[in-house]
Symmetry: C4
Subunit: 322 residues, 4 copies
């Protein structure tokens, strides 16, 4: 009987979880530390898989402002060209014989129309320019409506900002060991309640990627104000039972973390993801306490220490650093 095998593969097995069960390349992580996925997709036309909304919502503010300015420029050049085509009898207030000056005046008239500021010194008198400008001002209003939605979406996008400790540790826990990592809420004023964490182990087995749910000491906390040390006790049922540091490397282990909770400020459920690769696990270590006293004797929590640990001996023989 292959006891070794039996010791190695335990816990609730999850074969296909949308990640595919082919072999990933060595050292290629599936989930990046910032929660994004590291998988290349092919076969869906760009037009169908691309989401304009996602693109506009997730680009940086600098890029977003540039994009708005460029769009503004392009739209006004477009309408200025239309006005220019209409000829010089179409406007009151443009008194120039220079063609470039006329275009410039029509460009500024266009900006005044698009933003509906409409000073009126330059104003349309012909039917043609009136029609174009009535369409432009409508376009301006609808663009404002769109911008409102986009800015709202960008500004209030409900995302959890969770700090994960740089490494996970294998720490002594009761009579056995535990796989532990530490998380904290980065946001000072966004309280999170009803927070749940799921941890999955991905490993290579017979040239196939397999996934296991790790049982946690606590899956859920009602209040998550400061920091939480998530703990997977490595008991007999754990898929990590009896494994060494080298074993983890051999099976190309990666631990996926999925966190969700209710954010008070957004009044919505928010999510966060991260992962630890086998080489981000410290064997035989405990996290240092985050709690201290300030000058007034009040309890404070020092979040810059979230990744700090000290080495300790592991209680069990089965868990040796390879």
């Amino acid at each position: 009987m292959n006891t070794y095998k039996k010791n190695k593969i335990r816990g609730k097995e999850v074969t296909d979880l949308g990640l595919g069960n082919n072999i990933f390349d060595d050292n290629q992580r599936v989930i990046n530390r910032d929660g994004s996925f590291n998988i290349k997709r092919k076969g869906i036309p760009f037009r169908e898989s691309f989401s304009v909304y996602q693109w506009l919502i997730s680009m940086s503010w600098v890029k977003f402002c540039c994009l708005i300015l460029i769009t503004y420029l392009v739209v006004n050049i477009f309408f200025a060209t239309l006005y220019y085509i209409g000829g010089d009898a179409n406007f009151e207030g443009i008194e120039t014989n220079n063609n470039f000056d006329r275009f410039l005046n029509e460009f500024f008239f266009s900006t005044q129309t698009f933003t509906t500021v409409g000073y009126g010194r330059i104003n349309p008198v012909g039917v043609y320019s009136n029609i174009i400008s009535s369409i432009e001002s409508l376009t301006g209003l609808l663009s404002l409506a769109l911008a409102t939605g986009l800015l709202y979406g960008r500004f209030v996008k409900p995302v959890a900002k969770i700090i994960y400790s740089d490494t996970a540790v294998i720490a002594p826990y009761k009579d056995i060991s535990g796989l532990q990592f530490r998380i904290a809420n980065k946001r000072r004023d966004h309280q999170m309640v009803d927070v749940e964490v799921d941890v999955l182990l991905s490993k290579i087995e017979n040239d196939k990627a397999m996934f296991y749910n790790l049982k946690l000491e606590y899956r859920k906390v009602s209040f998550f104000t400061t920091a939480w040390t998530v703990n997977h006790p490595i008991d007999e049922d754990s898929p990590l039972s009896g494994m060494t540091e080298k074993d983890l490397k051999d099976i190309d282990a990666e631990f996926f973390i999925l966190l969700k909770g209710f954010d008070d400020t957004f009044a919505q459920v928010v999510h966060s993801r991260s992962s630890y690769k086998y080489n981000e696990i410290v064997w035989g270590a405990k996290f240092v306490s985050l709690y201290g006293k300030d000058d007034d004797g009040k309890t404070i929590i020092e979040l810059d220490k979230i990744s700090e640990y000290y080495k300790v001996a592991l209680p069990q023989l089965e868990l040796k650093t390879g």
Copy 2:
């Protein structure tokens, strides 16, 4: 004892699930492939069952833009008529004796008022035109407010874009068979987590439509980044146990699929629906792998192969193609 019957009707039975249990016409699907329902309703006045919001949100962008343009035209003709009725002493800046020209000028003045561009060359001087134009500019602002909400609703409508394989297959699974179909997330950048799938079998039995929940190998995946082969093992408890391809046709089988998951970009739970009719099931087939390597040796997933399968022999005698 009617063993045949007993073999045929198993699993948790669901008699009435809002679909009614009358006999549907042969070959009439209940759920279309795009997730819409195929049932005609009667007896509720149009005014009460019609939802303006749903109509405005779900029409195509082309139609929506036309609708806005037409509304803009109609509103301005309406106000221009009101101004016209007021007579020609009401405005400054309209210097014409031609009635059509006056109407045209008042029409353009109306557009300038509605969009609040207000150039001011033409401007109201009489009490009548001032009252009308102050109402029109308010109307314009409120219309903008409405448009903002609508455009936001259209743009950020949180819908899952799921690709379903064209057919489901009856594939060998362990010692038995499994009903399998494949799904993938169409959106490149919208990550989905906590995805759940329910599959229901609808069948005709004694001239009544009955519904059965099918037990899945995995109902839920934490991460759904690429593709997921949903699998219903056809074991002894399955309502499909012992059935042949012809049996499925005889009972007019349709498999309903309901998927829900949390979409990262929308920060909301999204849903998707689809169904497979008995003639969209391939007996004795397996889906081809989606995974390949690109030129750099990196793992890629080829989503255009999502419906591709190859024929295999089924392991069990009970499952014969009719």
Copy 3:
């Protein structure tokens, strides 16, 4: 042993569910048919318990439009008065010696400023009028911002529109009876999925109001496209077991219904409430089928028949109409 008592009080008892357990007046329903509550509250200052948002969101469209018009009028009279106080040297374009005419001109100037239409024939030249008008135009913009939110809130308020059958029935069900009522989705285009129903019995017992959860044949349906007959089997464990029509009256029975489901169009969970008082229960009746065929032989569902029933004999002796 008091068997009668034992027969009468069964099921999971719920003593306090936010409704209080005092005796309600005879025939006073707790929940109105439209889902609103029939309980008077006292002791919280109006200012604290009143919600402006709720008031603005739930008033009729006619009232809402009137409110906007009146606010518009009041705001403009206010600013016109401020302009008037500033004296006649403050504006260009007002050429009148008549005080009322001046006020009228300043009123219209105010509307042009508030809506930001700003024709400019009348325009501020003094510092005083410039300051006031710069504040007014800002006020106008912020009012527009508020109106946008409000109109969005009113327009897309996610409410389930559920039709409940006018009466519930006590119908034969298998060997026993069942308390049944019928519900349908009023909205043509808003699909609902994952719909759950809870039914509570409120009864007077020893001068105290007690509440019982009624066990349903199906609590949840995945798809709710047309109509659903909710059924509470009156088995031995039911608090209704052995009761007669007169018993229900004696205990002042009221059945509370709470429905929730996911609305496809709103992409959100929506709720609906209703209740049946003892005198809205028909003993010994079955609902007629809603299904028919149209001229083309296609299945249709006739929702105007949702409350129609026909009388039948009840299978059990225990359930006699009083």
Copy 4:
């Protein structure tokens, strides 16, 4: 055998729930009565932990209006300065030789541009002033878009307004005692359904803070229209079993309350938090009834009595006031 210990530590223990398990200072509450947390954080740069959105959403309306006015002033002074730098040939309509007057005129022109009111008496003629003003009017529109989102966020922020009784009581309950507190919905028109309550006991044990979930008589009510007396029966399994008033003080007990429910008006799940410190528990008391009759004999509920109680003897010997 240490029976005392065994009596003291019962119930489901929760060691780490994001609150840390260090010793808090005596009398320092963890959760304030208004639901905010009383823990100082350190180590995360202000820029990263500060949330602009949270700050703008949660400040008072008075502060918010001041902030808007000041921003408006600053922005216009900024643009006026830019116009002023451009020199006096850039504008039509400014007829003054006084520099301060020119700046003032340019300031008001700036307000007219930013709010897009654009009267047009003063209007840009030079290229420089045209460019600046076209940027300013765009800035104005985008600011409006942002303000719209913010005002919407402030106005419709979905928060539960729950009144908690000033004190909790230890009241007789069946043969034993119960820890009880009373809650009510402050909002007149916001109906809440599907309300759930969690109560946690925090206590000091061996110099460590430990947390226990308290089992409630009812954790959830379907309807929460008026008031609900939440009750934790102090049975053998309760961590409070056998404790006296002095014991509670010795372990520095604090009871955390987490409430969530679906708010009808916001159509969303809302949360509320509070806590009772050991000195806010009245031993041997019952809450008075909230129900009364008004002049018409209709049942009313008097919410101003929510904290009123009367002293009663406790049924059990184990529970003595210290």
